[in-house]
Amino acid sequence: MVTKTKNLNKINGRDPPKIGVYICWCGINIGGVVDVPKLCDYARTLPNVVLASEYKFMCSDIGQGMIMEDIKAGKINRVVVSACSPRMHEETFRRACEEGGLNKFLFEQANIREHCTWVTMHDVPGATRIAKDHIRMAVAKVGALKPLEVTTVKVEPSTLIVGAGIAGINAALDLANSGYKVYLVDKSPTVGGHMAHLDKTFPTMDCSSCITTPKMSEVARNPNIELMTYSEVISLDGYVGNFKVRIEKYPHYIDQNICTGCGHCTDICPVECANEFDLGMKPRKAIYLSFPQAVPGEYTIDMKHCIRCGICQETCPTAAVRYDDKPEYVDITVGTIILATGYDPYDATRMGQYGYGRIKNVINALQMERLLSSYGPTEGKVKRPSDLKEPESIVWVQCVGSREFTGKGRKYCSRVCCMYATKQARSYKEKHPNTQCFIFYIDLRAFGKGYEEFYNDTAKNYGIKFIRGRVAELLEAGNGNVIVRAEDTTLQRPVELEVDMVVLSVGLEPRSDIDDIARIFNVTASKTEDGFLMEAHPKLRPVDTLTAGIFVAGNVVGPKDIPDTVAQAKAAASSASTLMSRGEVEIIPYYSTVLSHKCAGCKSCISLCPFNAITFNEIEKVAEINDILCKGCGTCVADCPSKAIIQNHFDDIQILPMIATAIPKKPQAEEVEVE
């Protein structure tokens, strides 16, 4: 339930504003460009400003102390801080005001750093002009601000985790073991994500499934975790602490309560199609189990390929096949959400010169993992696709789709490829010491704990040839061999090798459905940069998003190795836990209110609200806004033809004065002062 205090918008009486302006030097960030004391002089000339002070770092204890003292001394009842962006320190200064005894919403921050001195570093008169304008605008707004109270809402002690790879699994276990209810959802029929594909993991050469499968089982057994595989989140409503989620559970066409997992159906099914788990290298039947250690061990019918011959239905010993199975919809309410949907490997067909998809014996690294894996398509014996011969020579091509500035791939480095190629080459050489293995690289990035040692050991003791030079092209020779052309930049000469097989070390990309994920969960996928989901702050808030209550972990935010993924998963679980353990969360009250005496009952606002927060009161014939559902976008405010809707903190009475004072009354020419 919701605790909130009265809507104070209706209270009109307030003291005339006594504004205190505090200008920050921010070291030399601001002070090195504009003359701060002169700005203070200017601030004192503005209407209702009773004092103007300056300090090197307003966000420091001393800086905040200045504000608190002046409030306590009764000198001021409105505060303007001219410093960095409010997106940095608005909360800091609001709290300072509160501690001083002033309602924390009677504060405004003028951005004279990010929007001023940092973008006009060498134009002092220009920067000064803009700083003065921003200060003047902030003073005009703060004078019109009204005191507000935060809204407190209860937080449901449950979490939705989207994606059951190693990140989702770890976050789920931590939260479940803390006593919270966890819904773990994954699109695939099994949990495990990409780790289930891998053979060994660097630098320890741990078998990937050996370390993953115990966690997979734990997640299925844990009483606090409700596992929903082969399911997808289709809609999200609500707000932090009270997210209303609708999940679609795809039909398996098999009654899981009756199926014993005997596998008879798979043996009998006449249809063969591409096996996604083995990345197309081995067929599977239309009725199948993803892989032997799948959790849950649920058989599924892939209806896209099923021909409904009915043989499995007839012969199933427990009659578990149900062709008429339908999707099921589940509605849940959770307090927090963690997105851990992972990555897609770069599609190497986009690099025409490497012939992926054209030249049979050019495969990508994930396919190589499957070949190396003991439960892979060839049971751990690496065989090349064209003739199933065990290769005598293999080349790994690094940076496929990464560090790519021609538009065919991504600009960033995918972090893990240097290490996984070294690991794969080492794995292969261990079993076949007399083969030739080459890795063509640009740089060898071995940044993590034990990585450099691993690379060093591999390079010295396994006879793998590391050649520095980006591969230019791959050609098909006769008999299936692949010709590799590159430059050995260390020896400064071209290199041409004919080898049995080539492995492309493909980079890690955002999933192809990342935009859908961003849209459903109302988080941002960075548009111009790497395309991954954006964290709230790249350094200090790596697992938060700007949407309160939604956290991110793992490769959905950017490429990373397993230790970092697990660390982020645990971090996200911790953040979610913090929110849920308090039991309630504060929401900033930027909501809007309809002034019923002005409302004409035209109903224009009702259809505008993206959150369905506006309803029509049939008795009074006026619109009404639910101030919990209202998120404060202000769209209805802008559109009301009668100007009957007011918004807390961003109302016309606050914005129009900013616009009115933005342009100085005196003509431009006289504004230019010679410093």
């Binding site: 690099m351 025409g352 010169q353 054209r358 050609l475 020779a477």
Partner: protein
């Protein structure tokens, strides 16, 4: 667009009128059969050559290229050309001047001195582009199916060359820049098959001023290409560029001479411009297509004998 609508200003360039006139002859003959009109461009000069001129001074290259384009603009016709090099020059000059206001201003300042103005109103088309996109392989296949009593059934080594496909973004086949197939599709007529030989998309060696300045190096390229084509057992080399054509035709004789100690046997692979092959498929005689040279004429192509093909394909109609 029906065939009757197709009318172009034909840009000849240098190599064709000066050294390989049969390329123009064959193209005109074939285009005539497809009812495509080709109008002369009076006063056209060297394109100018994309490797040499652009390499020395881009502004000069732009102005001379623009001047050629204005001739077609005055005729109100798109330009059709038969040379990869001219294509590289004129297409890229046209593209640059359409979008770069500064360069356009500079060019028109110079052109004003001779009473001309670049307006950006025409497109530049290679004849391969016209045949593939405006006529289409389907139509060509139909028209050549019964052109002869016996189909040609030749194994072809198609040489795309360089400027035909790159830089790919502004060319009509941008999507297949790494592995184009359009020229192969065009040539698979009358039973002919296009072979996949090693380094099919490698340069012939002639362009970029290399043949002029470093002849032996340019011929070394050609030697490598000829070896790969020979290994694939091709009956003929098909070109879309007179300079590549020269490099394979005259160049083959030069390679046999200069590299005689390096190669296992002299090369003897006939070289055909692609419209000559289409002409043959339609039932035209080798004489009509300029493939037979009177023995008393020196310095006139073809230099690598075309006889092996003539013998292989037998009679025409």
């Amino acid at each position: 667009m029906s065939n009757d609508d197709l009318k172009f200003a034909l840009f000849l360039g240098c190599v064709i009128p000066n050294r390989y006139p049969y390329i123009e002859r064959a193209t005109r003959a074939v285009f005539d059969k497809f009812k495509i009109q080709l109008v002369d461009m009076k006063g056209a000069s060297c394109c100018p050559a994309p490797g040499v001129f652009r390499g020395f001074d881009i502004d000069t290259w732009l102005v001379i290229g623009a001047r050629n384009i204005t001739i077609a603009e005055e005729l109100g016709l798109d330009i059709a050309l038969m040379c990869n090099g001219c294509y590289g020059s004129l297409l890229e000059v046209n593209h640059t001047l359409k979008y770069d206001k500064e360069k356009r201003r500079m060019v028109n300042e110079h052109l004003a001195k001779i009473g001309r103005e670049y307006k950006g109103t025409v497109e530049i088309r290679h004849v391969v582009d016209i045949m593939y996109n405006d006529i289409g392989p389907e139509k060509i296949r139909n028209k050549t199916k019964y052109g002869r009593k016996k189909p040609l059934n030749l194994k072809l080594a198609i040489h795309y060359g360089c400027h035909l496909t790159k830089p790919s973004e502004i060319r009509p086949w941008a999507k297949e820049s790494e592995n184009p197939t359009f020229f192969d599709e065009l040539m698979e007529i009358s039973g002919c098959k296009s072979l996949n030989y090693k380094d099919k998309f490698m340069c012939c060696g002639a362009g970029g001023g290399v043949r002029g300045a470093f002849k032996e190096i340019s011929l070394d390229y050609t030697r490598e290409k000829l070896e790969n084509i020979s290994t694939a057992n091709a009956d003929a080399i098909i070109t879309s560029c007179p300079f590549c054509h020269l490099q394979f035709d005259l160049g083959q004789v030069e390679v046999n001479n200069i590299f005689k100690d390096k190669i296992s046997a002299p090369f003897n692979i006939p070289v055909l411009y692609f419209t000559q092959l289409i002409g043959l498929a339609m039932g035209m005689t080798p004489e009509e297509l300029g493939l037979i040279r009177s023995p008393d004429l020196k310095g006139v192509p073809p230099f690598t004998p075309v006889k092996p093909i003539i013998t292989k394909i037998g009679e025409t109609a």
